[in-house]
Each structure stands twice: as structure tokens, then as C-alpha cells.
Symmetry: C2
Subunit: 339 residues, 2 copies
């Protein structure tokens, strides 16, 4: 293995001169010397030892990406997460950082992994709201959370307007004449993206006098899509005509369940989703859904992180991106006169 020392010996200079020449600190080495050293380094196939540099300089150039470890081995990288991850990795890498990916269980796991490698920054994918205070407190490095609804200030966060997304979904149903509706998502009782989407949906419906009965707000964590569909469509005066689902991924499960139960979409039940993944576009009928720009979210996340690394004193920043409705064919037009 070629080291600075080897190059120094061959060039007849000290290690320090080699270090300076190679690290582009142009102003502190004479031009010709630097050029000579660089050519020797290249010729010898020198590759700097990042561990040594990290140890000596206290700068690892490592950025950690943290995801919740799902103990049940559930979809570790759903389409939404992987699209976001891919973009983030590419941007950060193009800025000269190395990316470590961690599945983490709890707060102490996070601290251990960040500190052990002296990560210079971290991006949190998904829900860490419960522990966000302690994470922030124990890790004095730039951190960017995504989709967080923590009330904590001094935390950088990139998210979308989930509440508005819920409103858009409600309006999509209302505009086509729906009055009795249902909602389904992984309800946890905690504040977060799902709760916001539901809230926006419910508020908009209420304002228009449409109905979202308590028993039509379903948690997919407890029951299967099939069970929920059966309950929802049981004969009743309040039988919903439309169902808003908190993600395209889950909407897909309802499509499949509907197929098995011989329920036609949108004739027997209209559906709207959230995310606008390719998956949703592939469904038939095309899934009407709330679109978020994952690519842009990834770029914003990197922007904020990199700015904080460059200038640790810069204030924490929250960016909430807009959402819009992607209208397709999964909501039936119930207006009289329409067809």
C-alpha cells in the first residue's frame, strides 16, 4: 500500500509537502513541486487512507442515512423510500461525500452509529418524531429529518403539505358528487403525515357537509384491506362511495382486495391514493392520487444538509413542498346529469 511517506521518499520532500500538494492547498506549495508530487502519486497509484484522514483531521466526509429497522422484515425499501434514497445518495456523492446506510432500532443505536464513524451529517428517512429531541441533543452535527411533525424547533425538516394533500383528495371526491366517504391508512394515534392527511380530508369534507363516519376511518395495521372493504361496503344508509387511502402502495392492496371480492373500481367504490408512484399509474383504472415531488424533496434535503455542514452556525430550516392532484380514473362521477 502506497502511503504519503512512500511518495515523500521518492520525491525527496517531507510528508507534509506531499500532503499539501495532494490536498490541493495550492497556495502553500510551489507550483512545480506540487505538480511533480502529484505525478509521482498518480504513477505510484496512491489512494489516501480515509480512516487515517478521518482520525487526524476529524473530518470523515461520511454522511449517514438512517431508516427505521422494521423488525417484522416488512418492505424495507418501498418504492417511495427507494426513489428518495437513490436521489439523495447521488447528490451527496457528487459533492464528495461517502454514504453509509443504517437501519436503526432506537435512539441509542443512532447515536452509536453516527459517533462511531464521526459522521458529518445525517438524513432521517421516515418517522423518528418520538426521539427527535434526544437525537438532536446527543448529536451536534447537521441533521435533516424528513416528513417530521415534531414540534421541536431548531430542527431541520423537509416535508410536504400533507394537510393540503388531504384537502385535495376530499375536493376530488366532492367535485364528482361524493358525499359519503371513508379513509384508510396506518393509523398510529400519533401526529404525523398520516394524521395530517386524514385531518385535511376530514376538515374539507366537514366544511361541505359531507360525511366521514368514525367507523369509516380505518387502520390498515389492524385489519387486511379485504376485511376493511367488506365492512365498508356492507349495506347501510351511510355506505361510503369513496375511499381515500394514505399511500399508493396501500391503494394497490385495495385494488387487489377489490378484485378478489368482485368489487369494481370505481363503479362500486371510488378510490384516491397518495404519492403518485409508478405503481399507481400502472393500476387500472388509473389511480387518482395526490402527487408529491420526491426528486425535489431529495434535492432540498441535500441542500439543507450541505449548507449546515459548510456553515454549522446557519439556522435550522424547514421546507414544506407543495402537492397537487393527479386526476385519473379511480373516482366515479356521481353528479346527476353526468355519465
Amino acid at each position: 500500500m502506497v502511503t504519503l511517506k512512500d511518495i515523500a521518499a521518492k520525491a525527496g520532500v517531507s510528508m507534509m509537502t506531499v500532503s499539501r500538494a495532494l490536498n490541493g492547498d495550492g497556495s502553500r506549495v510551489s507550483g512545480p513541486t506540487a505538480a511533480r508530487i502529484r505525478s509521482i502519486a498518480e504513477e505510484m497509484g496512491y489512494i489516501p487512507n480515509s480512516s487515517a484522514r478521518s482520525l487526524a483531521a476529524r473530518s470523515s466526509r461520511i454522511i449517514a442515512i438512517l431508516m427505521r429497522d422494521t423488525p417484522d422484515g416488512n418492505p424495507l425499501l418501498d418504492p417511495y423510500t427507494s426513489a428518495f434514497l437513490g436521489s439523495v445518495v447521488q447528490v451527496l456523492q457528487s459533492c464528495g461525500y461517502y454514504i453509509m446506510v443504517h437501519f436503526v432500532r432506537d435512539f441509542s443505536d443512532i447515536t452509536f452509529r453516527l459517533r462511531s464513524w464521526s459522521a458529518e451529517g445525517a438524513v432521517f428517512l421516515g418517522l423518528f418524531d418520538d426521539e427527535i429531541r434526544q437525537i438532536r441533543q446527543d448529536n451536534p452535527i447537521p441533521l435533516v429529518f424528513t416528513d417530521s411533525y415534531s414540534s421541536l424547533r431548531q430542527v431541520s425538516n423537509v416535508g410536504i403539505d400533507d394537510y393540503k394533500g388531504g384537502c385535495l383528495a376530499a375536493r376530488a371526491f366532492l367535485d364528482l358528487g361524493h358525499r359519503n366517504l371513508a379513509f384508510c391508512g396506518p393509523l398510529s394515534g400519533k401526529p404525523g403525515v398520516i394524521a395530517q392527511r386524514l385531518q385535511g380530508f376530514a376538515d374539507t369534507l366537514a366544511k361541505q357537509g359531507a360525511i366521514l363516519p368514525q367507523n369509516c376511518v380505518c387502520s390498515i395495521s389492524e385489519r387486511s384491506a379485504e376485511e376493511i372493504l367488506k365492512d365498508l361496503l356492507a349495506p347501510s344508509a351511510l355506505r361510503p362511495t369513496g375511499l381515500f387511502v394514505s399511500s399508493d402502495h396501500i391503494a394497490w392492496q385495495f385494488y387487489k382486495a377489490a378484485g378478489r371480492l368482485n368489487i369494481r373500481i370505481p363503479d362500486d367504490l371510488s378510490i384516491a391514493g397518495f404519492d403518485d408512484l409508478p405503481l399507481g399509474r400502472a393500476l387500472i383504472p388509473g389511480l387518482t392520487t395526490v402527487r408529491q415531488d420526491i426528486q425535489k424533496k431529495a434535492e432540498k434535503t441535500c441542500d439543507i444538509l450541505l449548507r449546515h455542514i459548510k456553515d454549522p452556525a446557519s439556522p435550522s430550516e424547514t421546507q414544506i413542498l407543495d402537492v397537487e392532484l393527479a386526476e385519473r380514473d379511480s373516482i366515479k362521477d356521481l353528479r346527476s346529469g353526468a355519465c
Copy 2:
């Protein structure tokens, strides 16, 4: 930051004793001392410095995952890749390794990234066949390639039986009475998974006297699915009734193109895919496809890598996993008498 030195001072022992106690080298420290040291370390919130350990011990516990950087910003993590990646990361992490993810351009990029962090092993996702010899030669650490068709020996590789997959697709069409067929995939002219799938398909068709004309073997890299469909379905004596596509992801593009062109699947054209992704199951009609077990592939990949890390002398290993047909509804039954 708490270091071994701090703990040593507090415990009244040398750094070495602390190091041994903490690294579980149980046999070399007296039980009570070790216990006392461990409790002090815990209480002080000690977190080992991985860079320092890596430098001193020449063991980084880092495993690199390498993917091709697509300069055009194409799908960086398609559904297939991300499913595989997620599984690999989880397994390796549960074995105590840290995962670095790299998008790489060429061979020298690979060597640089592996050596700079003293990676103990690497997994290559996708096509690196061209440079596999030089990669292997320059990096004397355990490497596992996936889906490689390099002729090089001494290389560990985990793949699937792509040729058989092509045969299965052909038989699926033949069994339902199809005689004129077409193929589409990202043809590159190089050997690899796509070429094998095509070969198995073509060979099986030829054996049965079915037809796969040269102009019905299409490369999706050059033309859009829509253009290809138009050409394929132009009136002709040899107009194909079935199309085998090299991945579910691309099959989806044909579904969309067919929708725009008012071509009904499978009535106007039957389609078969490859991978068996959730996406394909969501399509209507359900996509008949060749199934590969991505989870198992990921596990095998980790098995081989970890074995080589434990025992560098163990021989390189190639694992070819089986594939099977997932029959759904995208191939029309053309047999006389059937309906």
C-alpha cells in the same frame, strides 16, 4: 469524547486492559476486572472510534455496495434493485458490518472507493462484466458479483438461470398456441442476462418451429415502446401474437403504450415479462412473467461474501438460482377449440 484512555484512568488500569475487556476477548482479562471496566464504559457513554480501530487493526467492518452510475440520471434504484439492496443491507448489518453505498463510473473509481475505506468486501449490483477482471485483480478482498456472465473463473457470482427463464416464457406462449413471437429488451450486443433470456426464448421457439423474425427482436434503448408496438403490429403475414419482454418494468411501459394506441392485451397482443415484481401483479390483465426470488438471491449473496471474509482461502463460488413461471392473464389462449 470518551476514549479508552479516559476509561483506563477512571478504572485504574492500562488502555490495553480496557481494550481487551471491551472487545470481549474474555479469556485475557479477569472476569471481575472486565465487568467493572464494562460498567464504567457504559456509564461514561463510551463509543469506540471506528476510524481509529480501522487504522490500527486493518479491519474496517465496512462492506461496499456498488452500483453503476447512470449518467443520464435514469432510474437509479428500480424496484428490482431496491428490493435486493434492502435485503442485502439488512443481512450484512445484522452481522455487524457497516454498509457504504457507491454509485461508480468505472474501474478506477471502484478501486479508489474500496481501498480508501479499506472495505472488507463488496457486492456488485448489475453489470460490471467488462471490467470484472481488472476489478478482481486490483482488489484482493472478497467480492461478490450478481447476474454476471463474465467467463472469468475465480469470481464469485450469484445469478439466476436466465436462459431457462427465456425457455419458460417461450413455452408459455407455445402452450397456448402462439407461433409468431417477438422479443424486446435493452439489447446491448454484449453477453449478459438479457442476451441469455433472449437466447433461451429463441432456442425453444426454434425447436418447436415457431417464428421469431429478426425484425421482431427489438431494443428498447433505441425506440420507445410505442414505436415498437406500431412496427410489430403492422399488418403482415408474420405479425406476432405474443411479445416477451426482458423485465416487468419494461412490460409496464408496453402496457401503457398499448393503452395509448388502443391495443388490447392480450386480445391484440399477448405479453410476458420477467422478475415478478409487485408492479407486474398490479397490472391488468395480470402479467404472466418469469419469477426470480430476489430475497433468496440477496441471502445467497451475503452468505458467500461473509464466508469469504471469514475464510479468505475458501474457493470462489457461483450460485445460479432457479426461476419459475408465474402464470397470469396476459397471454391469450389461441388453441382451436379453446376459448
